[in-house]
């Protein structure tokens, strides 16, 4: 009978620790489906895309990023209007409390400048995102041929 109680105790501990791990995320910011389109040539530019969720109680905003494999990373937005594409740096991408923001082709994206040569498709790279409130969040992004 004692053994049963042990099993119950261990299960409860596992469940609780899992819950804790969830709340350990910085201010409830989570990033999913992160990928980059590697630069076609060394020294070229690459774009980074992802889904950012803010599970926290307060609004936040993506205000910058950096990566070791790029000389600089900017937060950008592409706008296609009247058949003309304009790309401009943005100061912040708002991620409201409880909200989700998509960084996707033709919209918000990271622009990675002067990218190192030789990133292969399928390889995973590390990017550090900087949020106004959550601070730095490290993510893994897959190099994809979309």
């Amino acid at each position: 009978m004692k053994r049963v109680w042990w099993v119950v105790f261990v299960c409860a501990a596992l469940v609780l620790s899992a819950c804790n791990a969830g709340s350990d995320l910085p201010e409830g910011i989570t990033v999913e489906e992160a990928w980059i389109r590697p630069a076609p040539m060394g020294g070229g530019v690459a774009a980074g895309y992802m889904t950012i969720r803010n599970g926290g109680p307060g609004d936040d905003a993506l205000i910058g990023a950096r990566a070791e494999f790029a000389s600089e990373v900017q937060v950008h937005e592409s706008i296609v209007q009247d058949d003309i594409a304009v790309m401009r740096p943005v100061e912040a991408i708002p991620v409201p409390a409880g909200g989700t923001v998509l960084l996707e082709p033709g919209g918000y994206h990271l622009m990675l400048m002067d990218v190192q040569e030789g990133i292969e498709f399928g390889e995973t790279v590390t990017i550090t995102l900087i949020f106004e409130n959550a601070g730095e969040v490290q993510i893994q992004a897959e190099a994809r041929r979309p």
């Binding site: 070229g44 594409a85 304009v86």
Partner: protein, 203 residues
């Protein structure tokens, strides 16, 4: 003479007319129709530009092929690669028929796009894509042929971004400007449209 209503003959006549009308209304559905915006079939004035991989591209040399033109630049990280990747997919979907399609990428950034950069850039998407560059004035003449807009935009860390027309232009086997595909067309739409144009004969 029958009193009131239709006679048997009248039923047949009206019924026949109805069947013909319904059949006629279905005809447009059966005819091939394009996803892209159609042009008035005007012949494109021949132009020549240096090819990034050497030699000169004359539009008239590609009579008999369907020619797809896209205007962009190699420092464009988002919109241009998205379109070029879609075009690569189209070429894959066309399989053997892709042999009759010429895809050319015309730079809108002659100051920074060297032929070497363009060759590297395009090889990444599809080795068959041809890069076209040139002096600003000779490029401008080509932009004008397609009413392509290029505007120097704001500063970015690597210099400047450019605002530019995002459509893809399609010229048929007879050198006539036929279609303009808008940015963000669904995958497969370009393939469908090119298949229709490829079925046409060149004169």
């Amino acid at each position: 003479m029958q009193e009131g209503g239709f006679s048997r003959t009248q039923w047949w006549i009206w019924g026949g007319i109805l069947v013909v009308l319904v059949a006629l209304s279905l005809v447009p559905l059966l005819l091939p129709h394009f996803h892209g915006a159609e042009y008035s079939d005007a012949e494109v004035i021949d132009f020549a530009l240096p090819r990034a991989d050497g030699g000169t591209f004359h539009l008239s040399d590609h009579r008999g092929d369907v020619v797809v033109l896209y205007f962009g630049y190699t420092q464009c990280p988002d919109v241009c690669p998205t379109t070029l990747m879609d075009l690569h997919r189209t070429m894959e979907e066309l399989e053997a028929r892709a042999e009759d399609v010429t895809v050319a990428f015309v730079t809108v950034d002659p100051a920074r796009d060297t032929p070497e950069k363009m060759v590297d850039y395009l090889r990444y998407f599809d080795p068959s894509f041809i890069g076209l560059y040139g002096e600003p004035d000779e490029l401008q003449r080509v932009y004008d042929l397609f009413s392509v807009t290029v505007l120097a935009e704001n500063q970015t860390a690597n210099g400047y971004g450019l605002a530019h027309t995002t459509s893809t232009f399609v010229i048929d086997r007879n050198g006539r400007l036929r279609l303009k595909m808008h940015y963000g067309a669904k995958p497969g739409e370009m393939t469908d449209d090119l298949k229709i144009l490829l079925r046409e004969r060149g004169s």
